[in-house]
């Protein structure tokens, strides 16, 4: 079976689990919403400050949402030790890495479709000026978070990792996504999407590096 088919298989399984369990919509989305409202309350109600900080707050919410989502995605693997089933199956390690990443990235993108307009409304951002740049930013950034989360999510098999170590790893490593994502988003809502080119390029570079690295080392995290 080709790598592509294997990846699709695992992604499909993860998406099915996700839809059944309703974790993304049921827990992560409300969390992101609550977080953003909390941000609004702590920084507002002055319009200007909220507008300026909105891209940053938005990406922080996305970052935290990705940590939660991956923790949940790997939870389904450790409940009954299903991950051992994947380990023992004749499945390419890269397929597991990409399959899980695709499923969570898809869920996050769906969430972003809800949250971004919500933030635009709450914090006064204009989404219509550079919609393509905006979309590209979120897609590329979420893919980057997907690569980091899918790789290190394996560690959450250890209960202690689930609590603190996983977020501790993801946040510093994902710094370029945060920085580039926020900057590109600011430019896009400000109507200066043309200047976001280098930031988008940075996101692409990050994505490629982490996808390549993840493919190579994922197996080592899985084996015992």
């Amino acid at each position: 079976m080709s790598l592509l088919r294997q990846t699709a298989l695992i992604a499909a399984k993860d998406l099915r689990v996700e839809v059944r369990g309703r974790y993304a919509l049921g827990a992560v989305l409300p969390f992101a919403g609550t977080l953003l409202i909390a941000f609004g309350l702590s920084l507002g109600p002055g319009r200007t400050l909220l507008q300026e900080t909105a891209p940053g707050l938005l990406w922080l919410a996305v970052l935290f949402a990705s940590v939660l989502s991956f923790r949940q995605a790997y939870q389904s693997e450790s409940e009954d030790g299903a991950i051992e089933g994947l380990l023992l199956a004749p499945v390419d390690r890269a397929a597991i890495f990409f399959g899980k990443a695709i499923a969570v990235v898809a869920a996050l993108l769906v969430m972003e479709v809800v949250v971004v307009p919500m933030v635009a409304g709450l914090f006064g951002l204009s989404l219509g000026r550079e919609p393509l740049t905006l979309a590209a930013t979120f897609v590329l950034g979420t893919i980057g978070l997907g690569a980091v989360g899918s790789l290190f999510g394996v560690l959450t098999e250890s209960p202690r990792a689930r609590e603190a170590v996983f977020p501790l790893l993801v946040l510093p490593l994902a710094t370029p996504v945060l920085v580039a994502g926020v900057k590109a988003t600011s430019l896009a809502v400000g109507g200066r999407g043309g200047e976001a080119g280098s930031w988008l390029g940075l996101l692409v570079a990050f994505d490629l590096v982490f996808m390549a690295a993840g493919t190579l080392v994922f197996g080592f995290l899985l084996e015992d």
Binding site: Q6, R16, E79, G85, L88
Partner: protein, 221 residues
């Protein structure tokens, strides 16, 4: 006439977790078609032994082959031909039994046409469409047995398959072992349940991580 390699050969296999030796200097030889029964109390090392044979974990010291293939070097190939029914059922709680089994079939490249027959054989046809989360231990184990039956591997490993099961479910497990035997497969069954294991062709005992020395039985000479 060429003779197939023995199902399992282990030489001095030791597995350690930190400072705790779970398996110590295991030497074992299992011929093809044998049904080996491993007896021993909890913590005797039965699980560790089975998991090493299944290549779920690797030995700390020592070496071995499964179906003629090296434990460490040819793990992937061993995995294709071995199934481990372990402590954990390895199911996705939010999927149904049918979905879990379909997923396994896809992973192993197996056809699903025998799926319904197997579900019938383990007595799960009625509940196969419901989420595993609501299953009892007995039902979960039946799904694991179904998985083994669909795969019908060359080497079937069962680690305490009877724990927490009612008599009917235990019968399902036994039927699967018999099916495998009839199909000429090699079976290794580990259990401390003394009422089970009658279909074994050979028995070994384990204690404190070691396989206790055996006296040759008539079937081995």
């Amino acid at each position: 006439m060429p003779v197939a390699a023995p199902a399992v050969v282990l030489s001095g296999v030791t597995r350690v977790f930190g400072v705790i030796p779970a398996l110590v200097r295991a030497d074992l030889r299992v011929e093809r078609g044998d049904t080996l029964l491993i007896r021993g109390a909890n913590g005797a090392g039965k699980s560790t032994l089975l998991r090493i044979i299944a290549t779920a974990i690797s030995p700390t010291y020592g070496s071995g082959t499964v179906l003629g293939m090296d434990l460490v070097a040819r793990r992937e190939e061993i995995r294709r031909r071995t199934e481990l029914l372990g402590h954990r059922t390895r199911l996705y709680e939010d999927l149904s039994a049918r979905e879990n089994l379909r997923f396994t079939c896809s992973l192993y490249g197996l056809e699903t046409r025998t799926l319904e027959d197997v579900l019938e054989r383990v007595g799960l046809t009625e509940v196969a469409g419901e989420r595993v989360r609501g299953y009892s231990q007995g039902m979960r184990q039946r799904v694991a047995v179904a998985r083994a039956l669909i795969r019908m591997p060359a080497l079937l490993l069962l680690d305490e398959p009877y724990s927490g099961l009612d008599t009917e479910a235990k019968e399902v497990v036994d039927r699967a072992v018999l099916d495998a035997q009839r199909a000429g497969r090699t079976v290794i069954l580990a259990t401390h349940d003394l009422t089970r294991g009658g279909m074994a062709t050979r028995t070994i005992f384990m204690d404190g991580g070691r396989i206790l020395p055996q006296l040759p039985t008539p079937s081995q000479t």
